[in-house]
Symmetry: C2
Subunit: 219 residues, 2 copies
DNA sequence: CCTACCGATCGGTAGG
DNA sequence: CCTACCGATCGGTAGG
C-alpha cells in the first residue's frame, strides 16, 4: 500500500503488496486443488500443502482462514470456469446444440488448463461447512438447470430427437467431471484434443436419441 | 426394543451361524457403502454406520477388522460386479460392439441394484492402505485394458470408426462411474432405464468416431 | 453386543 | 513466516 514507491527497485517489487498477496493465495489454491483432486480432501494435510509450497503450515493461515475455506474456493473456481464457458458459448451462437457443444468444449479446455488446477469437482459436498454447502449446491443446481434447458432447446429445434434432458445431462456431465480425476498435463493428450473428442462423443450420442421422450417430471 | 429381537430370532433361526454372520457382514457393507457414496469415506464415522444398523460401534469390529477394510471390500465388490457383467457379455455375443453394449448395460443394472449399494467407485485410492491400493489398482488396470481391447476390437470389426481407445474408454467410464453419485432408488428412473439410455448414448457416440486414429501409445 | 476409554492424527493458534 | 503447542475428532480396544 504505502510501499508502491519502491516499485522501481527490483523485478519482484513491481508487484504491489496486494498483487503479491493474491499471487500467493492463487498458488496456494492451485497446489491445494491439485492435491485434493489427486488424493482427496481428507487425505491431504495442510502440512503437505505447505511443504509443496516450501513453507510451514502456519504460513498458509495468513492467506486462508480454514482448510474448508480452501476447498470452498476450489469449488467456486470450478463454477467460475463454467460461467466463463457459458459466456463463450452464448457469444458464439444462438443455436441450442451449438451452444451446448461450445460450452462443453470450452469448459474442458479451461479445466485442463493451468488455471483449472484450482477447480475441484468430485469432492462430496459433506466436506464443506453447511453454509458453504448451500452456496455450492445452488450454483450446481443453476448450472444443471442451464444444461437441461439447453438440451430441451436442442430438442425443440429438432437438432436431436426427444429424450429425457435429466438423463442426458447426467450422462455427459459425469463424463466431463471425471476428466479432472485422470487428466495429466504430461499425458499424451492436450486439453484441446480431449475437449474436441468429448464434444464429438456427446453430440453424436445425443443425436442417436433415447427411446423415452421427456415427461412432466423430467425438467 | 427387546421385542424386536424376539421377532428376529424366529426369522433368522433357520440360518446357520455362518449364514447369519455373512448376512450381517453384508448388511454392514451395504450400509457403509451407501454412506461412503453419499458423504464420502472420511465424512462417514463408524458411529454413524453403527447407528444406521441399530448397534454400537464396537459391535462392527466383530465383522470387520478396520474401517479401511470395509472400504476395500466395497471396492472389491465393484470389480466383482464388473466381472459379472463381463461374464454376461461374453456369453451373449462374440462381436466387440455387442459385448461392449451388454457389458455396460449389465454393469449399470448391477450397480443400481440392491446388491450394488456395496460398490464404491469414486473414492480416491489414497483412502486405502498401500497393500489394498495395489490390489485395487491392478483390478482397475485389468478392467481398463479389457475395455480398451473391446473398443479396439469394435474398430477392427468396422463397427465404429478408428479412434483412440483410451479417450473413448475414459469418456464412457466417467459417465458410468458417476451414476453411483446421483442414482437414487426412489428416483424417477429405474436402473434398467438408465442402463439402456446410457447404452445408446455410448454406442451412438462411438459410431460418430473421433478424428484422431489410435497411435502406438494409445493401448 | 455394550460401556468406558485410550491414542494418533491433524486442523488451527500463540507468540515472536 | 517459523517454533512450539493445544484440542477435538474418531478409529480402535479392553473387559465384561
Amino acid at each position: 500500500m504505502s510501499r508502491k514507491k519502491d516499485k522501481a527497485r527490483w523485478a519482484t517489487a513491481i508487484m504491489s503488496p496486494d498483487e503479491l498477496f493474491n499471487m500467493k493465495k492463487m498458488a496456494l489454491l492451485r497446489e491445494a486443488g491439485q492435491a485434493f483432486r489427486r488424493k482427496g480432501f481428507h487425505n491431504t494435510s495442510m502440512d503437505e500443502v505447505a511443504a509443496a509450497l516450501n513453507v510451514t503450515k502456519p504460513a498458509l493461515y495468513y492467506y486462508m482462514k480454514t482448510k474448508q475455506e480452501i476447498l470452498f474456493e476450489c469449488h467456486q473456481f470450478a463454477f467460475d470456469l463454467a460461467d466463463q464457458a457459458k459466456q463463450t458459448a452464448w457469444e458464439a451462437s444462438e443455436i441450442g446444440i451449438e451452444r451446448l457443444r461450445i460450452l462443453l468444449e470450452k469448459y474442458i479446455e479451461l479445466l485442463t488448463s493451468t488455471l483449472g488446477s484450482c477447480a475441484v469437482l468430485l469432492e462430496p459436498l459433506s466436506s464443506l461447512s453447511p453454509g458453504h454447502q448451500k452456496i455450492v449446491l445452488k450454483r450446481f443446481r443453476d448450472f444443471d438447470r442451464l444444461m437441461k434447458d439447453l438440451v430441451q432447446q436442442a430438442i425443440d429445434e429438432k437438432s436431436i430427437p426427444p429424450q429425457d434432458p435429466r438423463l442426458t445431462v447426467g450422462f455427459f456431465m459425469g463424463a466431463l467431471l471425471h476428466i479432472t480425476s485422470w487428466y495429466d498435463v504430461e499425458g499424451a493428450r492436450t486439453g484441446k484434443e480431449i475437449a474436441q473428442a468429448y464434444g464429438r462423443f456427446v453430440l453424436n450420442g445425443l443425436k442417436g436419441g433415447s427411446p423415452e421422450p421427456a415427461n412432466s417430471s423430467d425438467i
